[in-house]
Amino acid sequence: MAINVKVLERPMGEVSYVRATLKGLAHTFKHLIDPHKVTVQYPEEKWPISPRWRGTHRMLTDENGKAKCVACGLCPTICPSNCIKLVPGEDENGNRYPLIFEIDEFRCIFCGYCQEVCPEEAIHVGRHYENAEYSREGFVYDLERLTAQTHPVSELWDPADPKGE
């Protein structure tokens, strides 16, 4: 036997390979017939996600169905991955609104700063994660698509209730 092989101390009078094998077989058989399985059958059943889950964005709208965004420019400023494109416009009453508002979900790191910084509570990250696309262009969500999202938005972290209870 090689000298450097690690040798563990075993109770020599008690070890037996055959009996250990039988014990192992009994154990695996118990699992074999155990009807409880841990797999989550994904498309049919899903794990519940946290209320603070930060996923696909959503733009909230006012009662007229218009985006709440006032094109203040805070979200593209704070965005660490520079994924928000905002071109502001102004109507005849002097109200600012976004001419172009695009979020590249592919660049986004889902930090949620845009939601935190938004003064109008317009842009939100949402409790949603299934946003696969066939092309990279498909990940650039424009204003129309952002307002059309219906999934619940994520809750902000509350310092008074750090665990979200």
Partner: protein, 437 residues
Amino acid sequence: MTSLLPLSLALFQDVAYEHLPPSSVSVFLVWTIIKLILFFTIYMIAAALGTLAERKISAWIQDRHGPNRVGPHGLLQPAADGLKNLMKEESLPGQVNKPLFIMAPAMSFIPALMVWAVIPFGAPMHTRWGRLDWVLADLPVGFLFILAIASLGVYGIVLAGWASNNKYSLLGGLRSSAQMVSYEISMGMSLIPVLLLAGNVTLSAVVIQQARMGVWNALALTISFFIFMVSSFAETNRLPFDLPEAESELIAGYHSEYSAMKFSLFFIAEYCNMFTASAMIATLFFGGWHLPFTNDYLPGGVPVWMSLLSVVWFFAKILFFVFFFMWIRWTLPRFRYDQLMSLGWKIFLPLALAYIVIVASAVLALDYFGVPRDWRFGLAMFAMNVVLAVLVFVVLDRGRVISPASTRVRLEEVQRMRQMSRRRALGQADLSRGAGD
């Protein structure tokens, strides 16, 4: 001398099966073709479903569901896998030896199929066309044929390893041949007690002998059974002896370079080997097709329904052992290479040899005292076996650590080795400290 050895030729003939030829050549031909198509179709489908069973059983043992998307409960998964493998690109790496590389999968697949031909699947049928038996080729040398062909399967693996021109593949092939050589011997030796009881090398004769004695060879010759079973695990390269393809060390061993259908063929060959080994275990040690408490082994054959029942019974046994192969696979971890070798050479070979001597003496003694070869003989063998099994599995097995699988390690020896490694570790620590300063 002859008075001392009452083993006469007549005795062998008594134990052996009376071969009554079927009534006519045409019936024989038609029946053989039917059997050929039937058995090899069953075999291939069973091997395909075996892959599904393996995945299902592994999943259940690991508390998962396993494949369940293709067809009801994933039953069409093998078809999907086969289709995938057919559609995939056949890659032929530049450095390989092309003829051998292409030949190797077939070389490992064909022997697995060939063994299937000599296994008797059921009690001979008594029909109006004469006696029809359920074996493709009831070779008089059934046993030797199996031993010879089963070990040919290693050529495919060695050739694959060599032709791939890749260090991991070559190591896999090397391991496979070493493993095969070591376990082939104990496998053959473990079968000799079976032959001693049957007095014949035809597989049907072994089945009939077990039926006559009323006790399965697994109960009369447990140690033989144990050695044979472990050796067949090694021969089929199944865990815990799947060293030729050990993923963690050799990527995939001998089939690292293979893709698509050629890889698939190795895979199917493994399952075919498993089915064949299960059929062998069932025939040699678990009574084969013999239905318990019936006289279906008498010459002349049995009614058709009984014969079919015996085929079903035999397949049930095969399926159980296939399940057992999988069960073991998902229970035991892989052996280390030196453990494998020392288990084969230092434990199984002497054990098998000693067992041959013991069984031969017992058979000789029982014959000398005129014990007839029926249930009394079986009972005597069973009684002897209980004693020996307790001796081997309880007394000898105890205190045998797995690490050097062959030898008992004394406590002082362990302490010496620990001290040595501690001293070595200390020395290295000193060295590194010196370098750091």
